[in-house]
């Protein structure tokens, strides 16, 4: 029986080859290039790369805003998690789905949402101007820390709701009842039993939120402004505008070190600690509200969540259909009306438009990139998941190797590509092709994280049973694995697709003026003067919002029950 064993080992090694080569070339090589760049000058004399202040200032601000954002997100997310894990009420499912929507929205769309709500051309200012007869927008909330924080809360509340809510809804209610039967008041039972048992979930979710806030790029760039430079924004500015690639590289390494540390803490914190001891069925704790206080709590929370999530979304959608122009010469007089012009203009190329190509080209680009990303990420992800599922000792090293791209921010990735592939050896390669590759790198860990648990949950006895019933290995894969993996595969494809459509950080480094993606186009448009530019940005954002909304809806419908998304 030596031969089949060898064949198996060989087969498993082959599984590894493709994804490993991909990661080596497109992730580790750029990373190494950044590393070399950051330290290169130390050898040829004066290292004028970065002063401490140049690193510490953005680092300090990044930490500060991330901590604030995380705390605010917890403030909203924990009561919401309690709401969803304990009460059955009308529209619960819908609201639950809605609460997940922001998480998958592209950053530029979120930025556009808050722009239409709070920006100088947004509803709030327009309303106040009309009401108070002002000629200037009275609220300057964009370019401020509160705008960034608000967007981060909008973005990440879903994580707290999902992770803490799911842990809370599975927390065996009998433990709380046992405490009460032993004489603990409801508050004592919460402090002594619920809180310690939820702590891993709360810590894990908070660290994940912190990680997303820490590496947030598009939101900070578009809602903050130059004075609110986080590490990400600073890397972008230094690399693309100051042309100080070395400082960008140093900042990238600092960023990477921080995210890896947080990611490591996060994975440690969220490891299940008590096995199945404290776990009950997912919906076991749900019940309708009984007392007036409970009903009031539900009502307040529902209104709060709907306002938090729907207001920015609706404000974007409505604003993209409305002309609200102060007519020339009549300041303060505002013309209003319904219009489809912003959408129609997407197909036209106007002289004087910022683009050399009509915006619809950006849509086409994005779709092509997204499809390529789906192909690359799911095929490599499937191979990788199979390799990781092999019972090898080597997987202890290989799994982090595979998951490391999750810790690297998109901007770092973009910078790495810029530094690594501008070498002469690669100059023949068309640059835009790097975009779907970068997107695939961003999507790959998500794909593996979706597929691997599904793969691990297939008991090997099923394959053995199929084998004893006469199926050979390819047949076993087709008859057993594939049907069971179909849903997770579809989920990861939708994931890869929406991630690619919305990806902004790496794309902003890699797309040229002729080959913008939708988010890049939105970013270029929204910051330009002129109602048409603004309107077109909103129109594209709305389209992206609709596509991503459908994506999350699809994912929710086809994902396996009990699998969490993060």
């Amino acid at each position: 029986m030596k031969y089949p064993v060898n064949k198996r080992v060989l087969g498993a090694a082959l599984l590894w080859l493709l994804p490993a080569a991909f990661l080596l070339i497109f992730f580790y090589q750029p990373l190494f290039a950044i590393l070399r760049l950051a330290f290169s000058s130390t050898f040829d004399g004066g290292w004028q790369g970065a002063s401490a202040a140049q690193v510490l200032k953005p680092l300090g601000f990044t930490l500060w805003q991330a901590v604030l954002s995380t705390l605010l997100t917890l403030l909203v997310g924990l009561p919401a998690a309690y709401l969803f894990s304990h009460y059955e009420f009308k529209g619960r499912e819908g609201l639950h789905l809605l609460s997940l929507l922001p998480f998958i929205l592209p950053t530029v769309v979120v930025a556009a949402c808050f722009n239409t709500l709070l920006g100088p051309r947004g509803w709030l200012n327009l309303g106040l101007m009309a009401l108070l007869n002002l000629s200037e927008p009275p609220i300057r909330m964009l370019q401020s820390l509160p705008a960034i924080l608000l967007a981060h809360v909008f973005y990440n509340t879903a994580i707290i709701i999902r992770l803490v809510g799911s842990a809370w809804s599975r927390l065996d209610q009998k433990l709380v009842h046992a405490a009460q039967m032993l004489g603990a008041s409801p508050w004592q039972a919460f402090r002594e039993v619920t809180l310690p048992l939820l702590l891993p979930a709360i810590t894990g979710a908070s660290l994940l939120v912190f990680l997303f806030d820490f590496t947030s790029f598009g939101v900070v760039l578009m809602l903050g402004g130059p004075q609110f430079a986080t590490l990400e924004v600073e890397i972008y500015t230094q690399a693309l505008y100051m042309l100080n690639l070395r400082l960008a590289a140093v900042l990238s390494l600092v960023q990477l070190a921080c995210t890896l540390l947080v990611a490591w803490l996060q994975s440690r914190a969220s490891q299940p600690r008590y096995g199945k001891a404290a776990v009950s069925a997912e919906r076991a704790n749900l019940r309708p509200a009984r007392s007036a206080g409970e009903k009031a709590f539900i009502a307040v929370m529902v209104i709060l969540l709907v306002m938090l999530i729907l207001t920015p979304l609706l404000s974007l959608i409505t604003r993209s259909f409305v002309t609200l122009e102060a007519a020339r010469g009549e300041r303060g007089q505002i013309q209003t009306g319904f219009t489809l012009r912003y959408y129609q203009e997407l197909f036209q190329n106007r002289t004087g438009s910022l683009f050399y190509v009509p915006p619809i080209i950006a849509v086409r680009n994005s779709l092509v990139y997204a499809l390529l990303t789906v192909v690359i990420a799911t095929s490599l992800g499937l191979l990788g998941a199979y390799a990781l599922n092999q019972p090898w000792k080597a997987n202890r090293i290989l799994e982090p190797f595979f998951m490391l791209p999750l810790g690297a921010s998109a901007v770092t990735l973009g910078l790495g590509f810029l530094v690594a592939f501008r070498q002469p050896a690669w100059s023949s390669m068309p640059f835009p092709l790097l975009i779907p590759i970068a997107h695939a790198l961003v999507a790959l860990p998500m794909v593996v994280r979706t597929l691997l648990p599904a793969l691990r949950s297939i008991p090997s006895s099923l394959r053995q049973a199929a084998g004893t019933l006469g199926a050979d290995e390819p047949r076993v894969f087709r008859e057993v694995d594939l049907p069971l993996l179909l849903r997770p595969l579809l989920v990861s494809m939708v994931f890869a697709f929406t991630i690619s459509l919305g990806e902004f950080g790496a794309s902003s480094f890699l797309s040229s003026a002729q080959t913008p993606t939708i988010p890049v186009a939105i970013y270029r448009y929204i910051s330009q003067p002129g109602a048409l530019n603004y309107g077109q940005a909103l129109a594209m954002s709305t389209l992206l919002l609709v596509v991503c909304g459908m994506g999350i809806f699809l994912i929710e419908k086809i994902r396996l029950p009990g699998e969490e998304l993060f």
Binding site: D172, K174, L175, H177, A178, A179, Q180, M181, L182, G183, A184, S185, P186, Q188, A189, E192, V193, P196, L197, R273, Y274, G275, A277, A278, R290
Partner: protein, 346 residues
């Protein structure tokens, strides 16, 4: 003394408890016996105050408890799967109720140690409860429930999760501890053996009401109806119709059976069931007098002290005990004395 009066509860629109009333006198162990899904656990949770009832009262020494929250009722509850706190050690679990009483630390420690000694687990004090075996968890759960000195102890299928041999062993232990504690207790189970071993009185919960109440002996000798006899596994139940009153004769698919009405009275033509206990069967090869029937042996299993026969008599399958082996396929005659054949209401 605990009094439960006319408890009603619907679950998902269906009546689960339809007027349950009973009492538990001080120092008595009452066993609540019922099928799974009969509402036993719900009834316990209502008494504990963890769940509201639709109507009815739970009173302690005459005082209505409905406005008193669970943690102030002073009732102990041992949960079906124990609900041990996984984030606390064995000793911390046992100490929990004592700590909630705001006792000084040394007292808590001393009482915890005492409780652990009682279940012979003092060496396990600092272990994590997730490392314990099922039987050890069961003992810790019992110690935890007893430690704060509840005035009533409720046990929800305390041995339900254990395998058979462990169950027998722990059953004796549990009975000892319960009797020693001299606390009134409600013991919920679906297992007749457990109920008979532990209880002073048994309550049978069926279709939302207490279908019968009595000592184990009373229930065994005179089950109130055929369902209870079947649920308690007392023997073969053969449906029939009363065909004569003096002496009581029941017409069944076996033929006519002379039966004992017990303390019940029957009308001519009434539907009923007769209970044929396997151990009472007199097996012979020859034809005999009244209440003797013929059947074919379908199966013969050695059970240790007897052979269990499965006999097919006119299409009616019966389980009978025989001291001799009678191989499959043989014809057999069996008889029951009239006193032993209990006629039951359907």
């Amino acid at each position: 003394m605990l009094e439960v009066r006319e408890i009603h509860k619907t679950y998902e629109g269906l009546p689960l408890l339809a007027g349950v009333s009973f009492e538990v006198r001080s120092g008595k162990i009452v066993c609540l016996l019922g099928e799974s899904g009969s509402g036993k656990s719900t009834l316990l949770r209502i008494i504990a105050g963890l769940e509201p009832s639709d109507s009815g009262q739970v009173c302690w020494n005459g005082a209505d408890m409905s406005m008193i929250p669970p943690h102030k009722r002073g009732f102990g509850l041992m949960f079906q799967d124990y609900a041990l706190f996984p984030h606390r050690t064995v000793a911390e679990n046992v100490a929990f109720g004592l700590r909630m009483q705001q006792l000084p630390k040394p007292v808590v420690q001393a009482k915890t140690l005492e409780a652990l000694r009682a279940i012979r687990m003092e060496t396990f004090a600092d272990r994590s409860v997730t490392e314990l075996s099922g039987g050890e968890q069961q003992r810790v759960a019992l110690a935890r429930a007893l430690a704060p000195g509840p005035r009533l102890l409720m046990l929800d299928e305390p041995l339900g999760a254990l395998d058979h041999s462990l169950r027998l062993q722990l059953m004796d232990e549990l009975r000892e501890v319960l009797h020693e504690s001299r606390k009134p207790a409600i013991y919920v189970t679906h297992d007749r053996e457990e109920a008979f071993a532990v209880a002073d009185r048994l309550l049978i919960l069926h279709q939302g009401v207490i279908a019968q109440e009595g000592t184990a002996k009373e229930l065994y000798e005179q089950p109130a109806n055929a369902w209870i006899a079947g649920f308690l596994g007392l023997g073969n139940l053969v449906p029939g119709v009363v065909s004569r009153l003096e002496p009581l004769t029941v017409q069944t698919s076996l033929g006519n059976l002379q039966a004992n009405p017990g303390n019940l009275s029957f009308a001519l033509g009434e539907q009923c069931s007769v209970l044929l206990r396997p151990k009472d069967a007199k097996i012979s090869i020859e034809q005999g007098s009244p209440n003797t029937f013929e059947g074919n042996v379908r199966d013969c299993v050695f059970m240790g002290e007897y052979y269990q026969l499965e006999v097919d008599a006119w299409g009616q399958k019966l389980k009978l005990h025989s001291s001799n082996k009678i191989p499959c396929g043989n014809k057999v005659n069996f008889s029951f004395s009239t006193e032993q054949v209990l006629c039951l209401k359907v």
